[in-house]
């Protein structure tokens, strides 16, 4: 039994680690996002009170789930004194509770998280609502944090989430993992959202929780459906995250790829990422994530920046450009060509891209141009 003075720290840790899992299961048991959110907070409030008296239970997660469910049914029953329609709801939930007395094994809980992901990424919801809802409900970000990520006002994000939840309820979007024949199609939307979550964590030094969360979601998805693009995305995230320790200085300043201390790269993740890329590219159905992962893999395999296999990277960018013909991919390809064929060739390509105007406001394009111009002058 842990001591009382540590309880709020224990609860803080537990909230961070388990609250979204508990929430995902409560959504299934209660059939409603808002009821589940309320139940989650009631459960943690009850834990603070009861655990200080009786100690932390052996399985805190199971305790939180059953307490949350009990509190929710209890609250509905109390409200049903004023609203008769709620009495029926309380009965249904009670019956369901009796049916599933011990639903808290790990397999079930992971299924619930997946249900939550597929529901939040349902194609009947607008794409921006899918992202906001997943960050809010699956990852537990606050509305303010999401707003910062998207450079949007918090009320805009809040409204987006409220509307999405209302559509889930009113149009009855089910809380389920799609059937086998629908899964591939639905997976695409999910992967896009997972990668956005990863990028939210990648761009900040304190974002490790989010990138880990995205990688965990990625692992879960590859277990359920080892589709090449799910493998490719997980590989891409692992390979990018493997550089975390080398990517910034102690002061938080970014360190360019060719200047990073490669001994700081996480070899375990690189090995896992490389194996995944290989599996993904064996399928004829690989896509943009797998190719991006392959590019990251070539960097990961180079012992030094000078040893990078640039011809292979240019070849992979050619493939990527066919799958995803965007100016940003073109720009990255031009930078790779500059490494293979020299700064002058790369500079000419970048100038041609910039002349088209689409990337006029894209700072990395101007930074890449300036770097190449510097290299030319140095010679």
């Amino acid at each position: 039994m842990r001591r009382e003075k540590n309880l709020s720290a224990v609860l803080d840790d537990l909230y961070r680690a388990e609250s979204r899992r508990v929430f995902a299961t409560l959504v299934r048991l209660l059939g409603d996002f808002d009821l589940a959110e309320e139940a989650l907070h009631d459960a943690f409030a009850a834990a603070l009170e009861q655990w200080s008296r009786d100690g932390v239970p052996a399985s805190p997660r199971a305790w939180l789930i059953s307490t949350g469910r009990f509190k929710a049914i209890d609250a509905i029953r109390r409200r049903s004194r004023f609203d008769a329609s709620l009495a029926a709801l309380a009965e249904v939930l009670d019956a369901r509770a009796a049916e599933t007395a011990e639903p808290q094994d790990d397999g079930h809980l992971e299924d619930d998280r997946l249900r939550l992901i597929f529901t939040c990424c349902h194609p009947a919801l607008a794409p921006d609502a899918q992202v906001a809802l997943t960050l809010r409900e699956v990852c537990g970000l606050t509305t303010e944090e999401i707003a910062r990520t998207f450079l949007a006002a918090a009320p805009t994000i809040a409204q987006r989430i409220v509307r999405a939840k209302a559509k889930i309820r009113d149009a009855r979007i089910p809380y389920q993992v799609p059937s086998r024949d629908e899964l591939a199609e639905r997976l695409e939307a999910v992967l896009a959202v997972v990668y956005l979550v990863f990028n939210e964590g990648y761009s900040t030094t304190s974002g490790e929780t989010l990138t880990r969360e995205a990688i965990r979601l990625g692992r879960l998805l590859t277990e359920l459906l080892p589709e090449p693009e799910a493998l490719g995305l997980l590989a891409l995230m692992l390979l990018q995250e493997s550089r975390r320790a080398a990517r910034t200085t102690a002061d938080g300043e970014p360190v360019a790829l060719d200047e990073q201390d490669r001994s700081l790269w996480n070899r375990e993740w690189i090995a896992e990422g490389l194996a995944l890329v290989e599996r993904a590219l064996q399928s004829p159905r690989f896509g943009a994530y797998s190719v991006q992962a392959a590019i990251a893999a070539v960097h990961a395999e180079a012992a030094t920046a000078e040893a990078t296999d640039w011809p292979q990277i240019v070849g992979l960018y050619d493939v990527l450009l066919r799958i995803r013909p965007t100016p940003v991919v073109e720009l990255n390809r031009a930078a790779a060509i500059a490494m293979r064929d020299g700064a002058a060739t790369g500079l000419a390509l970048i100038d041609a891209i910039l002349a088209r105007g689409e990337l006029a406001d894209y700072a990395p394009a101007h930074a890449a141009r300036a770097a190449l111009a510097d290299r030319l002058e140095e010679r």
Partner: protein, 118 residues
């Protein structure tokens, strides 16, 4: 739960369908509706007369206005509707995905409110 499925087609698209394609499509619709009826999931289905027969009515400041034409002029026209019974939106989407009209036009799925009054 009941879902109203509104079937929209662009006139140009309809004009482009050959007679043999049309009869094949009608056969497909017949089979589809029969199967749905057998499962007890077809509540109602109707085809509408052409949009040129539409009349729109409004009462404003006590004055009745009756105008020729649909409420909104769009390229896509409302040709008919299905009222289906489905467990949830995923099932409704699964059902409608097999409706032949989705290959030529668009079908809007709207859940029916439980109560007629707000």
């Amino acid at each position: 739960m009941k879902y109203l499925c509104l079937i929209y087609h662009a006139q140009s698209m309809l004009d482009a369908i050959s007679p043999s394609e049309l009869s094949k499509m009608q056969e497909g619709i017949r089979d589809f509706l029969e199967e749905l009826q057998e499962k007890g999931q077809l509540v109602d289905v109707n085809r509408l007369k052409p949009v040129r027969t539409a009349t729109t009515v409004r009462m404003r400041e006590g004055k009745l206005s009756t105008t020729d034409g649909p409420f909104a002029e769009t390229k896509e026209q409302l040709l008919g509707y299905l009222l289906i019974e489905a467990g949830d939106l995923n099932e409704a989407i699964r059902i409608i995905a097999r409706f032949p009209s989705t290959r030529f036009g668009s079908v809007e799925i709207r859940p029916i409110e439980d109560s007629l009054y707000v």
